[in-house]
């Protein structure tokens, strides 16, 4: 599995074998890591169910995954592992960013055609791009790389993670991105109006459902209709939301709406059809009705999470709590729900056995801005913040100015 | 094309009318609304030398044989409307410099303007023409009658007020307030300086430094006379208050100047301040406006006339130059629709503006001794189907609907259709 990777100054290639041998010789026989803290939240509950919390316990990390949790860590593994003790702090699952283009909108939008569902966002992922460095500082451990909302059917999104030196793709084909917002309609090509966009999608879904032999793009639509792939649809105004929900009802698939600014106008439909919502980060200067939208979504039982700029994720959750959202739902909105909405619940979003070793460490409740962000670990490596016991691992970037 | 044509039409009609108000005129009417008194059914109004001599029921008035009789026995007779503030009828209503108190509209009124023709068509008998809203101290206005060959013919009253405005163009409201305060302070300073010099002259004379026979012959600079009269409350000020934001400053200025306010739109935020208005105010022609609450995005409709009526402040209406709000019946309908009584709406175009202009003894209602400004309507003034049939100004017929060129142009199509049954009576039956 020799991947030719180039050292990233102008996108040059790097020979992996040569690189790993030279840089970190100790990596070969990876030693287990035992992380201890006074409070460990393994996973936040869905809706009103409580979170599973361990007090004064530990996690055993092996090869970037969580091998054992709490009581069932075997004794000899506990002795052999390198111990990292965070004392009074709280360890909780790393934040998951449901859908973002990480500032590379142009790379993730095919300009000529509006309908390109079979393009793969993973191919536009640049593992060395500098925006990855900001993720660890913001506590984000994994994110859904979504196609840009500038295309009516943008393509297939991927689940990716930041790494110590470079990011990597966790799952190449996670969900399919659609968009009915104004961004998709203000390009100088078909469609220029919402009528045109909806007609294009209705037409394509109809031919995908009825057609005998179809091309790769309509095959993706078939996977969506069969429920194999989640459909994430950008929609903001009432007309867009209504169009998206009717489209999903006609062709029988459960969409996830991204943006949903006027969600309170279609709250009943969202709740009734079990549609998930990915909200844009809350703007502190917005209307009170917009700031109370998370509370209303929670009351109606609509699963939701935040996306967009990674550095505003935790602040959005804190603002939502200030405007009435229940704390458990807010915590879930940062970790479990986004993983669930993009169909990656088994790998990220919680600290169960077998999940990735992605967690954040805070002194106090992470929803209060006053609690200090101690550290962020991704795939068993400490990317941000000092690890108290071991040697000061090389931080990626938390001071300003990038690398 | 049609403007010049219409103007010629007006000029030739005026020549044909006999000299104004020399003799006796009698008007027989189905109903006479006097505004101040009770309405009279089948009444007669007798005019002598342009003034109302008697108003009474037809039965107890004996029409002299020499009187020219206007038969309006199936129509409604009312006093003509009075507009307390308007800046129409002038070639340009704003001077380019901000502080020009010495100007007067007398130099700018164009007697042949179609604006005055529009006034007659709507039954307006008296218009107070003032400069526009774009300057600080804009000069003095003139009360005119919308009919006459020269400005002197049209003038009813002069020196009726100095136009001031707080309208800040290009978002500089504080600067406009500052400039207004400075302009008034400078005039006060000039006046104080003048009086000080006069006092010192008298003291010197008393002390003998100046011989007795020398008199004090220095008087106020002609260019500042109007502004000084304003400061000394000899001249009324007409202050345009664009919105709620300037009302506070206007009330402050109202304490030391004799001001009438002309209120713009968007007054809902200043609801508590409205109760502080003592005198009557003039309202802009746009009476209703929508406002969207940024938080709930719900739209709410406001009516400035209703707000003033609730605050107990008498108000006068104005008419736009075009569009629905240029018709009096539409403005009355808007007021009644928003909960204002019919009488208060009618007074808003008759007695209230007359009082504001200080001419309530001359115009504003049909009473003995007042000017014979009368309009004859085809129906109730608050009905949409009512047209102004004839306008009599000071005893002389100045407008007749049958000879109106503009209405002919608008309804020409109806004439061209061959059978005459296009009129409304025919449709009744269908």
């Amino acid at each position: 599995m020799q991947i030719l990777m180039k050292r990233r100054t102008t996108g040059a290639l790097l020979f992996t074998a040569l690189c790993t041998a030279h840089l970190c010789p100790t990596q070969l026989s990876a030693q287990d890591v035992l992380v201890q803290a006074s409070k460990i939240v393994v996973a936040y509950g869905e809706g009103s169910t409580a979170a599973t919390v361990l007090t004064d316990s530990a996690l055993l990390l092996r090869d970037g995954k969580i091998a054992f949790v709490g009581a069932d860590i075997p004794a000899e593994a506990r002795r052999a592992a390198r111990v990292v003790d965070y004392g009074k702090a709280t360890i909780s699952p790393g934040f998951v960013l449901a859908a973002t283009t990480l500032g590379r909108d142009a790379d993730l939008a095919e300009g000529a055609l509006a309908f390109t569902p079979d393009l793969r966002a993973a191919e536009a992922f640049d593992p060395w791009q500098k925006e990855l460095a900001q993720l660890a500082t913001a506590g984000v451990t994994s994110f859904g790389l979504a196609p840009s909302p500038r295309n009516v059917a943008g393509g297939i999104g991927a689940l990716a993670k930041a790494g110590k030196k470079q990011g990597r793709i966790e799952t190449a084909e996670a969900f399919v991105g659609f968009s009915l917002t104004r961004a998709a309609r203000s390009q100088e090509r078909m469609p220029t109006s919402l009528m045109g966009a909806l007609e294009m999608l209705r037409d394509s879904f109809k031919t995908a459902r009825v057609g005998v032999q179809v091309g790769p793009d309509l095959a993706v639509l078939r996977q969506v209709m069969s429920g194999q792939r989640r459909a994430l649809i950008h929609a903001d105004t009432f007309a867009e939301l209504n169009g998206a929900l009717d489209l999903a009802k006609n062709f029988n698939f459960a969409p996830v709406i991204i943006g949903a600014r006027d969600a309170d106008k279609v709250m009943a439909k969202l709740a009734e059809r079990g549609v998930g919502v990915v909200l844009a980060p809350l703007n502190p200067k917005a209307r009170i009705a917009d700031l109370e939208l998370p509370k209303k979504l929670a009351k109606a039982g609509v699963p939701f999470c935040f996306a967009g700029r990674p550095d505003q994720l935790r602040f959005s959750a804190a603002l939502a709590v200030r405007y009435g959202l229940d704390r458990n739902v807010a915590n879930a909105a940062l970790t479990r729900t986004p993983a669930n909405l993009i169909g990656a619940l088994t790998t990220v979003g919680s600290l169960r056995q077998g999940c990735g070793a992605d967690f954040v460490v805070f002194e106090g409740d992470l929803l209060d801005l006053g609690s200090r962000h101690v550290a962020t670990w991704v795939d068993g490596e400490n990317l941000h913040g000092e690890s108290p016991a071991g040697a000061k691992t090389s931080q990626t970037t938390n001071s300003a100015g990038g690398r | 094309m049609n403007h010049s044509l219409l103007r010629i039409a007006i000029v030739c009609t005026t020549i044909a009318i006999p000299a104004l108000g020399q003799d006796l005129v009698a008007i027989k009417a189905k109903t006479i609304h006097t505004i101040t008194g009770p309405s009279i059914q089948d009444g007669v109004i007798l005019l002598q030398n342009g003034r109302i001599k008697t108003i009474a029921k037809a039965s107890d008035v004996e029409i002299p044989w020499s009187a020219t009789v206007i038969d309006a026995s199936d129509k409604i007779v009312m006093p003509t409307w009075v507009l307390a503030h308007s800046s129409g009828g002038m070639r340009g209503s704003n001077e380019s410099m901000q502080n020009v108190p010495w100007l007067t509209v007398a130099d700018a009124i164009d007697p042949a303007s179609t604006y005055f023709e529009g006034m007659l068509r709507n039954g307006v008998g008296t218009v107070h023409v003032l400069p526009g809203n774009n300057t600080l101290l804009a000069g003095s206005g003139l009360v005119v009658r919308p009919f006459g060959r020269t400005v002197e013919d049209m003038t009813v009253a002069a020196n009726t007020g100095m136009k001031m405005s707080l309208l800040a163009r290009g978002g500089s409201r504080l600067q406009k307030i500052r400039e207004m305060r400075r302009a008034i302070a400078e005039i006060r300073e000039y006046l104080a300086n003048f009086h000080r010099e006069k006092a010192e002259f008298e003291k010197e004379q008393a002390a003998g430094a100046i011989p007795e026979d020398k008199k004090w012959e220095k008087e106020i600079d002609r260019k500042k006379q109007a502004a000084v009269d304003l400061i000394e409350k000899k001249l009324k000020g007409w202050l345009y208050v664009p919105s709620f934001a300037e009302l506070d400053e206007a009330l402050r200025m109202g304490k030391d100047l004799d001001l009438n306010f002309v209120l713009g739109a968007n007054l809902d935020e200043a609801m508590p301040l409205l109760t502080k208005l003592k005198a009557a105010v003039v309202l802009d022609d746009a009476l209703e406006y929508f406002e969207t609450d940024p938080e709930t995005r719900k739209e709410k409709q406001y009516c400035s006339a209703k707000m003033l009526a609730d605050a107990g402040v008498p108000f006068a209406l104005s008419l736009a130059s075009s569009g629905p709000s240029s018709y009096p019946w539409w403005q009355f309908g808007t007021c009644v629709r928003n909960g204002i009584s019919r009488q208060q709406a009618l007074e808003a175009l008759t007695m209230v503006p007359a009082k504001m202009l200080g001419l309530s003894d001359q115009i504003g209602s049909l009473e003995v001794g007042k000017l014979g400004n009368i309009q004859i309507l085809t129906g109730d003034p608050l009905q949409a189907t009512t047209w102004v049939d004839t306008v009599v100004l000071e005893g002389a017929v100045v407008y007749e609907r049958s000879k109106d060129p503009r209405l002919k142009y608008l309804f020409e199509a109806a004439k061209k259709a061959d059978e005459p049954k296009a009129t409304s009576k025919k449709d009744e039956g269908k």
Partner: protein, 415 residues
């Protein structure tokens, strides 16, 4: 796979429950001693109207007795009229969403996708007594697409629709070609470098669209194996076969004559929209017994992007149309400075139209024009309970819609 099926079952039961609920508590309301203008029929004074379940049960003078247990509302001194119908209504989307501008001829696109029930213009219309409107795509395309008739109140556009594909809009005049630029060499960097760029070009696009449709009509009888005609052409074929009414927006005299000529040339029925210069072509309209949807009679000028095609509207137009016996309705049309519909009718009444004709032109006539006079447009037993209670006679400038009812439900208490 099982999830969707479970969902369908669940939904079915829910809707069953709802309808049961609605019929159970069948509320009966009676509006007594009101002055009723039923529309199309003479006025009934101190009449009673009984409404229940969204329909009108009974209507009449003294002979109608109030069923016991009914909620009685005394409307002394007030007037009840049918809910007003605006046959050409402009919702508040900005121009970009009213037309699909990637092509000039898009007959198959539906404006229904754009409807937002909480659009402030719907609320204003409701507050002024309008209960149903006919919305068409914008006037930026030569053939804009399919309009629909909806009620002005509802939680979801689908529930508001009375008639889904009510009309297809064709626009005459220079307006559709305004944004296009001729391809005269040089950089062609936008899709707006295309035909038509002139009035002739616009009429050519219409003619070609109809020609293709005629061609497709003759061909389908021939070889069934060919590819089916494009969705746009299918709509044009319905127009040619008379199954779908075409609404042609034409303002100036020249456009009106062209509209009538094209309709005659391809043999389809058309309704003329806006028609400011109708009084100049009154005789031809009468001869072809065309129906006119007159835009904003009160407007003294045409504003907005249509000003280029507009002509100076004449107040006497309504009287001419009435006297020539031309069927017409009064609408607010595309003029942004149009007054509420009831005021437009009032101005028409002022300019010489009889009161009964003025009210019919905004109630029963548009219902007949849209083919919905069996459900809405007038007050009669069995029809939808869409009605308005006015404070005065509706053509009085001081008249206010005290309460507006759609399907028997009071949807707005404006004051």
């Amino acid at each position: 796979m099982t999830r969707p099926i479970v969902q369908v079952l669940l939904q079915a039961s829910v809707t069953l429950l709802l309808t049961a609920l609605a019929t159970a508590q069948q509320e009966v309301t009676a509006y007594t001693n009101a002055h009723i203008l039923p529309g199309g029929k003479p006025t009934i004074s101190n009449a009673t109207m009984v409404v229940s379940g969204g329909k009108i049960l009974a209507l009449g003078g003294a002979d109608v007795k109030v069923p016991d247990g009914a909620k009685v509302i005394d409307c002394k001194g007030m007037t009840i009229t049918p809910g007003l119908i605006d046959a050409s209504f402009q919702s508040s989307n900005n121009q970009q969403d009213l037309n699909e501008q990637s092509e000039e001829v898009t007959p198959h696109l539906r404006i229904l996708d754009n409807i937002d029930p909480e659009d402030p213009l719907f609320r204003r219309a409701r507050n002024n007594g309008v209960t149903a409107v006919h919305i068409m795509p914008g006037t930026r395309n030569v053939i804009g697409g399919l309009g629909c008739v909806i009620k002005t109140y509802g939680s979801d556009p689908k529930s508001m629709v009375i008639k889904a594909d009510a009309s297809m809009r064709i626009v005459m005049g220079a307006e559709p070609s305004n944004g296009n630029r001729a391809i005269r060499g040089g950089r062609v960097n936008s899709m707006y470098y295309r035909r038509p760029t002139s009035r002739m070009g616009v009429i050519w696009s219409v003619r070609r669209a109809f020609y293709d449709a005629k061609e497709a009509l003759t061909k389908t009888q021939g070889a069934p194996g060919d590819a089916p005609p494009s969705p746009g052409t299918q709509i044009m074929m319905q127009v040619l076969q008379g199954k779908l009414t075409a609404v042609t927006t034409a303002r100036s005299e020249q456009d009106l004559r062209t509209a009538l000529r094209i309709a005659e040339e391809f043999g389809y029925e058309t309704v003329i929209d806006e028609a400011q210069d109708a009084y100049m072509v009154a005789d031809e309209l009468a001869k072809k017994n065309a129906v006119v949807m007159l835009g904003a009679p009160s407007a003294e000028t045409i504003s907005g992007s249509a000003a280029q095609d507009g002509s100076a509207p004449r107040s006497g137009t309504v009287a001419v149309l009435a006297s020539k016996g031309i069927r017409f309705v009064i609408t607010t049309g595309t003029n942004p400075s149009a007054l509420p519909l009831i005021r437009e009718a009032m101005f028409a009444h002022r300019f010489g139209l009889g009161p009964q004709l003025a009210l019919d032109a905004i109630t029963i006539e548009p219902a007949k024009l849209l083919g919905l006079d069996d459900r809405i447009g007038s007050l009669a037993t069995g029809k939808d309970a869409d009605f308005v209670i006015w404070s005065h006679n509706p053509l009085d400038p001081a008249a206010v819609a005290v309460s507006v009812h759609i399907n028997g439900m009071s949807v707005s208490q404006p004051r």
